[in-house]
């Protein structure tokens, strides 16, 4: 997880598989951050959640917002995007790691009145997510092609 302030910064995360990348950006303060979480629920390993809260949605997402607020971002200004949450072609319908990540992400946002401005989730692609703090542009790259996710 990275949270920064200043228009010159760029944040990137590579190879989102079933993991999800969440970007937040406040255009008035140029505060932006990115979380790359791997799993939905920290209860499976509380020790790892303490060592690395960014690994789980339920511990990483609150931390991402908290750090952005500490740098001067305000909730009403934040532009929130997400990418990732892919699945392998077939796992017997049993594991659904990406789908569970997507569900928990939405649940946490719904509970906290956060709206997703744009998202590119699901499917079987690996994605690279990029956030520019100059203007908040969010880019997703997969299969060698880049697409602007925000602004829409």
């Amino acid at each position: 997880m990275v949270v920064l302030k200043g228009p010159a910064a760029e944040i990137v995360t590579h190879a989102l598989g079933s993991c999800i990348g969440v970007t937040i950006y406040d255009p008035t303060t140029h505060v932006g951050g990115m979380l790359h979480f791997m799993l939905p629920d920290s209860k499976i390993n509380s020790e790892k959640a303490t060592d690395n809260p960014a690994m789980f949605a339920d511990t990483g997402i609150p931390n991402l917002f908290k750090q952005a607020y500490e740098l001067g971002a305000t909730k009403e200004n934040l532009i929130v995007c997400a990418a990732g949450g892919a699945e392998v072609l077939s796992d017997g319908g049993h594991f659904k790691i990406g789908s569970r990540n997507r569900t928990v992400l939405r649940k946490i946002f719904w509970k906290n009145n956060v709206l997703l401005s744009a998202d590119d989730t699901g499917g079987n692609n690996s994605r690279t997510l990029h956030l520019s703090l100059a203007d908040g542009t969010v880019t997703v790259r997969h299969r060698g092609k880049g697409e602007v996710l925000w602004p829409i």
């Binding site: 190879a15 993991c19 692609n125």
Partner: protein, 292 residues
Amino acid sequence: MADLNELISGLESLPTLPSTSSRLISMLGDRDVDMGEVSDIVRIDEALSLTVLRYANSAAYGTPGREFNLRESIVRLGSETLLKIVLQLQVGQVVTRSCKAFDMSREAMWRSAIGGAVAAENLARQHCEEDRDICFVAGLLRDVGKLVLDQKFGESYAELVSQHLTPTTTFVDAERQAFGTDHAEVGGALCRHWQLPERIAQAVQFHHCPAVPGEGHDTLVDVVHAADIISLWSGLGLGQDGLQYELAPHVKTALKLSRRKAEREIAAMWAAVRSVEEALGMSKGQSERSAA
């Protein structure tokens, strides 16, 4: 595609496995490894010596306030750990190249190899303890065929394969339709070219299509297959092939792979890769800040 041996021998600069690696791999599974032989290999190699020093003095193995010299480090780590470190570095160097054929950076190849190796070793602890070290090496080498295809075809490989991809086609099936072979089969052939044990070659060759229980079945292949899927879920070193693969149903049953167990393995894999990167002193580029 023409004969696989022809493909491999026709390449000008084939990925090369250090001669000592073959010798060390043949020592795997031997619980009475000759400490002297492993130590000799470490002492004459500067990069290996430095790595061993880093490991022995790292947070995981070291003692705060005490710095171990090379001799002490070798004793402290013990033959099994030492053997694994040497293989990790030597085999890791072979697989750590950028791979345009699958749109993977050096870092992605490295993370994928180490992640798969760690997951295979963890699963082996629970299902085939005696093959733990072999699983580690097979996990490390499972995608080495991608490098051969990269040298032969470059970035055009994935482009041509993509033409055969549909939402329900696995990447290996599309590779077979486009080229008559796939990266796993090519990797198996390369392992045989290196004269590695046949079980390792088989695990590499069939890591996307493990045989069902019966004749020809080997738990080692199941373990490497599951480790590969866990690595995909983790997003460790994904490339152009994305997650376009399938988990074999019989492996899910045989390895008692529950959702909870899979999530634990994902968490453990990430932590282990991070710890290896720290021990090896690998750092990320500074031009961009990375969120993972």
